[in-house]
Symmetry: C2
């Protein structure tokens, strides 16, 4: 399709698309005449991913470039999701090893990258709770872990089949899911708490 | 106890305690001699709440004052928890009615204050997901709702008995739980996602 049509289909202005191409976030179109280039579904999918990272995730262009580079690398989607999760979170001060987080993950029986940004996030959350003496017994950790896994398994099982082998679509939906379902989950937990308190009285 | 002992037991410096008293966040001690005042367990509990709100929740002094005023009012804990939740969240642009959030809460069968800040948060999360076309079928909402309720019921059931009739202790533990367990839950969800993806392959 032409540039104007790509703009219409993606809801992105022509100057913004040209900016992404200049910045290397979007490959240039296939030149079909001196004044015209053709764009395909790959461009549209890539454009959706860039918009998700920039507009919804609030990532810097440098961070978007890192996600795209990770997607092109040998570990593809896994590595790109990790990089995107890292960029979506405030930078943790520590770089591991994450001793307490490691224990929790072992308690839950999960196989995860021990040095990932998610582990840093878990370690920070555990340390903050311990510092103010908030109880974190194994029973509570198992309950939270089970609830988190129920949600994660549903999310992973519901990635549409056509996205499974398409790294761009996969990373887009994981990033959108992280940024958009997290506030949803927190709002529901607070509302559930209100309901549970009222029913107790 | 003396001021010095209150400082030691609460881990708060004497100047900070004096500042809280001047600002009306902490009642003055009972005067026992011209140069000496006595403080009791009520002061210690109140000090813990103020520190939780300020240090952990990052609330402004004005917001802390609102939470304390709500606690003293007729609806006590419920209202104070609502005010604290509101102060802990970025201010929502809308003020209701929250139509879509209302539908979701009805779907889940929860009894909650329809105009609360939690409802505003839910409405904003639903709108953001809808805007980028992220699927939010009833099945997914029920699954998220069930997971959130499982956690909330555990949290509510595990409030120590001695706190039940002590508004200060109750609000302290709800605020700490909100601020400290939320990052924990999000970290676990991201890790669960990593584990679920890897097991799928």
């Amino acid at each position: 399709v032409r540039l104007s049509q790509l703009a219409a289909e993606s809801g992105t202005s022509i100057p913004t698309i040209k900016f992404y191409i200049r910045e290397g976030l979007l490959p240039p179109g296939r030149v079909v005449s001196p004044r015209q280039a053709e764009y395909d579904d790959g461009h549209l999918a890539r454009l959706r991913l860039v918009r998700a990272l920039v507009d919804v995730g609030g990532l810097s262009l440098a961070a978007v470039r890192e996600v795209l580079a990770a997607m092109a690398g040998p570990d593809g989607v896994d590595r790109a999701v990790g990089v995107a999760h890292g960029a979506l979170s405030p930078k943790p001060a520590a770089t591991g090893p994450f001793a307490r987080a490691g224990e929790v993950v072992e308690l839950l029986g999960w196989q995860v990258d021990q040095s990932s940004s998610e582990m840093a996030q878990l370690e920070a959350a555990l340390a903050a709770a311990a510092q103010v003496g908030l109880p974190l017994e194994d029973e509570r950790l198992r309950l939270y872990g089970t609830a988190a896994m129920t949600i994660a398994e549903h999310d992973v099982a519901n990635v549409p089949t056509w996205q499974r082998d398409d790294p761009t679509a996969m990373v887009t939906s994981v990033v959108l899911g992280t940024v958009l379902y997290e506030p949803l989950l927190l709002a529901l937990r607070r509302l559930a708490q209100s309901d549970a308190y009222q029913r107790r009285r």
